[in-house]
């Protein structure tokens, strides 16, 4: 999978990294159990500090997306993610509230908003929209 980091973006680099690895897993570009580059190799390739990559990997590990082994290095989680249970749903809802709120503030059309969500969802599931 190709990871693309924008340096001029307002999104911090570790967040870009985290997001892209999750997106790679969603789209299937990163297979379950697939090895990821070591922290050092990824930091070197991006020409950035080790801590930045470490921060992304630590976050991904805490959220259960990746595993970090002493010998085998970082891996994409080999088994599927746990299903979207109540706890996940309530967390997702609280994360979406400010996003929806800003869209409402900017008077974005409800259908437009839902269309965008559907497009993004189907981008990952590869269904025709």
């Amino acid at each position: 999978m190709l990871i693309q980091i924008d340096y001029q973006s307002d999104v911090p680099i570790y967040v870009q990294l985290t997001n892209q690895i999750i997106e790679g897993m969603a789209s299937g570009e990163l297979k379950p159990g697939e090895p990821l580059p070591s922290v050092r190799a990824l930091a070197a390739d991006l020409g950035i500090n080790l801590h930045t990559v470490n921060k992304a990997y630590t976050h991904l590990k805490q959220e259960g997306f990746i595993q970090v082994h002493r010998q085998r290095g970082a891996l994409v989680r080999p088994d599927p993610m746990p299903p979207a249970d109540e706890a996940f749903r309530s967390r997702l809802e609280s994360q979406m509230r400010p996003i929806v709120a800003e869209a409402v503030c900017r008077r974005m059309d409800e259908a437009d908003f839902l269309d965008m969500c559907r497009r993004i969802y189907r981008h990952f599931t590869k269904e025709e929209s």
Binding site: Q4, I5, Q8, L42, A44, N49
Partner: protein, 371 residues
């Protein structure tokens, strides 16, 4: 002066002249005289003109130096000849450097004026599978090198008594011995020390080819990735094969001392290995270009259409030549002006790798002079 002296001068200075003259055409197209640019500016009239001027002047001066040194070689005495080759190479490199710096500063001024790398579109692309690809040939390919060195050592030790009492350490351009020392085990084994030093250097080079960080062109990620892998493998093969030839070359030295065969046979052997190595290097330089930028792929993936360009990392390149980035954990990376790899001088290990071979060579030469 004999033919071999002339041959050596020509063999070294001609390929060097060709390479330094063509250098700006062999770099990646996202770089001009050590300044990063967007690929679309590579063929900008002003930038093309700089390359042409650089190549014309460097080429003309190199040619003059080659001709002048060949004429000089015919007139100078033995004492002065020792300096001719280093002097000719020195002048060529000095001209190359002076012109590089001139155009480097012109490029910087031009970039200040015109931008040349759009600020909002910079991106670094990495492939998560890169380090699972075959980037260089296995270190096991150094086993033949080690076997030749072991055989050389064995010959030196087993036939120690048969070596002449005085060992020639250095020959003049005309084939007369210029430095002769008394026999000792250290002196007889001298070629073996050189072999081991060379194997150590080639091992580090092959490792650096494999470990050097991935540098993917953001405007054309898939193709540049494939080109880069071909580039690395070709130079790894070059390192392994020419390395082996050089180890064999040093292995022939004790044989010559032992069997006393004609010095000219030995020299012809040395020259042919030097010719093979240099011609191969020049050819590979033109085929691959830096990072594989000149390699034609049988089928090309379409370039990325998002208009992204490489990150502008000029601030980490001192004079466009020396990479110094304390934040970057990378040790090896591609050179910007030239073909091959360089070091991140912000890392202490880089200095050790850079200085160690020089120190060892100085030590060896010192020991050899002392006898």
């Amino acid at each position: 002066m004999n033919g071999i002296g002339f041959a050596l001068l020509a063999i070294v200075t001609l390929p060097l002249g060709v390479i330094i003259t063509c250098m700006p055409y062999l770099t990646r197209r996202t770089e001009s005289f050590g300044v990063s640019i967007e690929e679309k500016y590579f063929d900008d009239p002003e930038i093309s003109a700089m390359r042409r001027t650089y190549a014309t002047v460097t080429g003309a001066v190199s040619l003059l130096v080659v001709i002048a040194s060949l004429i000089a070689a015919a007139r100078l005495d033995e004492e002065q000849l020792g300096w001719l080759l280093p002097a000719a190479v020195g002048v060529m490199l000095a001209v190359h450097l002076a012109l590089y710096l001139r155009f480097h500063f012109r490029m910087r001024a031009m970039k200040k004026q015109r931008g040349l790398v759009s600020a909002g579109m910079q991106q670094t692309v990495v492939d998560t599978e890169f380090y699972r690809e075959k980037r260089a040939y296995s270190m096991a390919w150094f086993i033949p090198h080690l076997l030749v060195a072991a055989a050389t050592a064995w010959i030196c030790i087993a036939y120690y008594d048969d070596f002449p009492d005085r060992i020639v350490m250095q020959y003049g351009m005309d084939g007369t011995p210029t430095n002769v020392v008394d026999k000792s085990p250290g002196i007889v084994l001298f070629p073996v020390w050189i072999q081991l030093l060379m194997i150590a250097i080639f091992t580090v080079v092959n490792y650096s080819i494999s470990a050097s960080k991935q540098q993917i062109d953001a405007a054309n990620p898939r193709n540049s990735l494939r080109r880069n892998l071909i580039f690395r493998r070709k130079w790894s093969a070059f390192t392994l094969v020419t390395g082996f030839l050089l180890i064999v070359l040093f292995g022939s030295i004790p044989l010559q001392q032992l069997l006393g065969f004609d010095f000219n046979v030995q020299l012809a052997f040395i020259l042919s290995i030097v010719i093979i190595t240099l011609l191969w290097a020049v050819r590979l330089g033109f085929v691959t270009g830096q990072g594989g930028s000149r390699i034609r792929l049988p089928e090309e993936a379409p370039p990325a259409a998002d208009g992204k360009v490489n990150r502008d990392d000029d601030k980490y390149w001192i004079l466009g030549q020396f990479y110094f980035n304390p934040d970057d954990p990378a040790l090896f990376l591609e050179k910007r002006f030239g073909i091959g790899w360089t070091l991140n001088f912000a890392r202490p290990l880089a200095w050790i790798i850079f200085l160690a071979p020089i120190l060892v060579v100085v030590l060896l030469v010192y020991l050899a002079e002392r006898g």
